[in-house]
Symmetry: C2
Subunit: 344 residues, 2 copies
């Protein structure tokens, strides 16, 4: 067995010199290198943007969707939609572990979800068994490879697969919240009623403890009532994250007239940068988890209002992110019920 690059560049076919995610085509030969993991794939959870695009192109015809997916994977060696550039994740069982990875916390037969994108994962599909159009899921007979740097989460035995997957999908945000938020902090969470927002909210309340203040910003009365019923957030404010002055004023009101230590932006629409920046105190932190964030709007916007704050790009990964996030569901009956109702 040869040893490959930990980031998988040994499988990049074209163009040379880039990482697997940026590559057009990667090598999906299923003989593994000594630092790779082979997976028997059970299903692909196609990224929502990608699945929608394929579905539209196929005019909703399931056979055509199958054809299109096979065509992409045969052409590129990975399930990366050429239009959207996005991938998704997979669920499967560990089939083999390269000899250089013998010491990791996985054994053959473990059921895992990949936590790196399909857009960089070598994949070979033998057969598509079924397509569940309503949940963007493709059941397959297939094999895939995880690189040494690839992330995965072991699917727990004490909760349903669907529940674990729904949470793992946004695992970066609550885990980063756990690391950022300190006892006594005041925290503003924008888009607090969404999936990542609620997980962050729960984690922030736990971390600030009895002397902190966690403010949940939501868009309407119905969301506010939900959060209050479930006991999520010390204060709930209703505002529009594209209206920074309104968000600022309501946040100050909910925080004894003071700016907050940390803001966490989980609102997945554009032009919300200033609502995460304005309410934060000097030397405080704005954490951007939303993929709709514009780098330049944040950088120039903070300068424009003279805010000396630390602005963080929400890394989808931080150490132990899967465990931290799954633990929330074990700990909180409310969160489990919410996920059961809303995301399963």
């Amino acid at each position: 067995m040869k040893k490959g690059c930990k980031y998988g560049t040994h499988r990049v076919l074209e163009p040379q010199g880039v990482l697997p995610q940026a590559a057009y085509k990667i090598d999906n030969d299923m003989n593994i290198y000594s630092n790779e993991i082979l997976i028997d794939v059970q299903s692909l959870n196609i990224d929502s943007a990608s699945f929608t695009q394929i579905e539209e192109e196929a005019h909703g015809n399931v056979e055509k969707i199958k054809e299109k997916i096979l065509e992409i994977v045969n052409e590129r060696g990975k399930m990366q939609n050429p239009v959207t550039g996005s991938g998704g994740m997979l669920i499967g069982t560990v089939a083999a572990i390269g000899e250089d990875l013998k010491d990791i916390d996985l054994k053959v037969g473990d059921k895992i979800a990949s936590l790196v994108s399909l857009s960089l994962t070598p994949l070979k599909i033998e057969e598509i068994l079924d397509i569940k159009v309503d949940i963007d899921r493709v059941d397959v007979k297939a094999k895939a490879i995880l690189f040494e740097s690839g992330l995965y989460g072991k699917l727990p035995s004490d909760m349903s697969e669907a529940l674990a997957l729904a949470a793992l999908d946004v695992a970066g945000a609550p885990a980063q919240t756990a690391k950022l938020v300190k006892p006594g902090d005041s925290v503003l969470i924008l888009g607090a009623a969404g999936k990542s927002g609620m997980l962050c909210l729960y984690e922030a309340m736990k971390r600030v403890g009895p002397t902190g203040n966690v403010i949940a910003m939501v868009i309407d009365e119905a969301q506010a009532e939900h959060l209050q019923k479930w006991g999520l957030g010390h204060k709930v404010i209703i505002s529009d994250a594209t209206k920074p002055i309104d968000v600022l004023n309501k946040t100050l009101e909910a925080n004894n007239g003071k700016e907050v230590d940390i803001s966490i932006n989980c609102v997945n629409v554009q032009n919300c940068e200033m609502s995460a920046i304005l309410p934060v105190k000097d030397r405080g932190t704005a954490y951007f988890f939303s993929m709709a964030t514009s780098f330049t709007k944040a950088a120039l916007g903070a300068e424009g209002v003279g805010k000396d704050i630390n602005m963080i790009i929400g890394n989808g990964y931080t150490k132990d992110h899967a465990e931290i996030t799954l633990w929330e569901l074990r700990e909180s009956e409310a969160l489990r019920q919410i996920f059961d109702q809303l995301y399963l």
Copy 2:
């Protein structure tokens, strides 16, 4: 005198509810509020993207450029190019200070540069005196207003105006470097031969002290020779910031086989995110100063390679950024000479 909003929203005419930068039109009445500063403007340094667009539209005709600038300012109350959205900065003399700002470190008659964008600064032009097409500079008889949150730098008496302005233009980067870098750190600076790159390089070398290692990445041999001649950087590597694996390998080689503590990206071209991410050690920091940075490429890219690093959006402002940056020029004969040769 009435008191206005510290961010200047009291002058937003349309649309309502946004900040001055996002506004289409702001009020440029030159009667100041109690927390505003009135400036007698001497010149506008139009942002390069904006000036180029206007110059092209005017086919290089100076009278037409004048007309276009007056038209924009009369229409919008600020010099914000409607095509590029960008502004620039101004130089002028303090003409009046509102009574609520009496305690700031400015007095009437002080010469200052505005360090917030013209795209949010109320401006009224009486007359355009001259246009220096080669340096995007417009000499004017005009007045402008700085809000309470507006940033400015006093122009120092011990260096030329042009030298101070060239440095203040990128003041955020070296000042952030001063705050991020600690004694003994290893630091990779991408695009180290550019204006912000060299200022960061100098500051990083000062901060790491004798036990640190500052690696300057440049694109070609000529730049490498320049930096070595000037004694900037402990090590200089030649690579292409759009080729992350090459950058990684050369960085490891220049850092005893180890990943660095901090990377600072000053390369103003696209697709350089991974070159700033890959060479950083777990729990290290990647600081993105380049405006060509893509938020999503950084966020998804770090996840894709399983890098648990802190990624920072380069805020154009941090406390005392002007003073920290001007101090570099006072301290370093080499930097002054470089700036004299390259940017004046």
